[in-house]
Symmetry: C2
Subunit: 255 residues, 2 copies
DNA sequence: CGCCATGACTGGCCTGACCAGTAAACTCAC
DNA sequence: GTGAGTTTACTGGTCAGGCCAGTCATGGCG
């Protein structure tokens, strides 16, 4: 056939990229495990046969990708870091910042993620995970007096516990990012308004409802309630003409 | 209170990081738009007051993050690139390779996203959007003879049309990313298997079912069907002991 | 035995240089 | 004038070598 020979786009490969690739693959292959150390820059220079600036460019790229960390003066050399979703979070944040998304879109996405997390948690949770969620909820209750900062932290912990029970860390990562984006957009308005004890109590109550649905393993209810909770929270920040986008996620309540 | 003063972890900020931040923010702010050029390295050296190796480290990081591209000899300087989700895909693939994330998780996430997109589309679509979806579906049908490559492209177009009707680009981007990550992980197995006409016909049929639900504005059905379609597609690639994670998203069919 | 100075490392940063590209300016024949 | 080819002034890629401030293990000192 005429498209039998598919040629790939060629691009000059920089030296530093070859180094990045080699180290990256060594990590993926497991030859280099978290906690282990890379040879010193000067040692790498001799091993790769490149100059120090080139080796350093490679290390800076790896560092910015969260794979290694260099500390000045450390005689053991750069450290291989444990895998983390920090890179994903960074990229995700960039995505949200770039395509400056509408408020409605962000919140709609949160409703989807949170709802799905609750649904999965209700169906997959173990007893241990349930009690873990209960503990974080208790912490939220305790944190009400401590102010919004503490309360918010406990809130995140609860959602993390739910996500863990749902066995899907992607949901949690995305949720965290979107949550951060939303907050950065309305932080000024929220920081003070949310400090009210009444609002925190209401929020706590909403979370309790979700947890109750998770307890009785009613996935659909858990999802429905957490979507509605988010809507109640944030709908006020969404322009009227965009509210329909959020309501579309709610009106399955009659089923 | 004793924890009134919350100190943040400090970490020495490298010079190259400051440069990365400045350029990154200039792009996010919109001061630098895709297609525009950065000053030459030597010019940046004078502007930032850093040495060339340092400036280059910053550029390499930006380059590896897909924000700029340097071509040797280009008198216009490094180019600002349009945003792309390639970095996101890379990060996600990496996470799966590092075994921090399972295949089941990726597919579960796709089921959630795709289902939500279909639900939103069913409820928010206009007539124009409906016929747009119908056109892409017709294109899929035509592409069956042209092989999996064409078919897959038409497939993506359909999902894009659905996402557009759902008015949530975050869903679409995330879906694209996860889709890419999944494919890059099973591409070897899939490339040949999926080339079968029978499988493509079946896929087409599944898409038609979703579209029908969108046509009659039955959001829940649209969501349910597209989740099940994905399950049927990919369940085979998920280890048995993780299948439960996917099934948890399906067994709301009795409602 | 505990403490502290020392020295041999580390990474962070800089200077200055060479090379191979690129493309625009420039030439020059037509 | 216009087109082709050539020059030139840049670009980024890479290197060698050097200085500094930090870290840590060593070993001598009290």
């Amino acid at each position: 056939m005429s498209e039998g020979a598919q040629f790939q786009q060629v691009s000059p490969v920089r030296l530093y990229q070859r180094i990045v690739e080699q180290i990256e693959q060594a990590i993926v292959r497991g030859d280099l495990k978290p906690g282990q150390r890379l040879p010193s820059e000067r040692e790498l220079v001799t091993q790769f046969g490149a100059s120090r600036p080139t080796v350093r460019e490679a290390l800076r790229v790896l560092e910015s990708n969260g794979l290694v960390r260099s500390r000045p003066g450390d005689p053991n050399g750069p450290e291989i870091l444990p895998f983390s979703s920090a890179g994903l979070t960074k990229e995700m944040t960039r995505l949200v910042q770039f395509d400056n998304m509408s408020m409605a879109e962000l919140i709609s996405f949160r409703m989807i993620l949170d709802g799905s997390a609750s649904l999965l948690a209700a169906r997959l949770r173990t007893e241990e995970e349930l009690s873990s969620m209960e503990r974080t909820l208790a912490a939220m209750s305790d944190a009400i007096e401590a102010g919004y900062g503490q309360f918010s932290k406990a809130d995140v912990a609860f959602h993390e516990a739910v996500a863990r029970a749902g066995r899907n860390s992607l949901i949690e990562v995305c949720n965290q990012v979107v949550r951060g984006a939303v907050l950065s957009l309305i932080s000024d308005k929220v920081a003070h308004a949310r400090n009210s004890t009444a609002l925190m109590r209401e929020s706590l109550h909403h979370h309790q409802e979700v947890l109750e649905a998770i307890r009785v393993r009613d996935g659909l209810a858990a999802a429905r309630i957490s979507r509605r909770n988010l809507y109640d929270y944030y709908a006020g920040y969404v322009p009227e003409n965009e509210q329909g986008l959020l309501l579309a996620l709610l009106d399955d309540e009659e089923t």
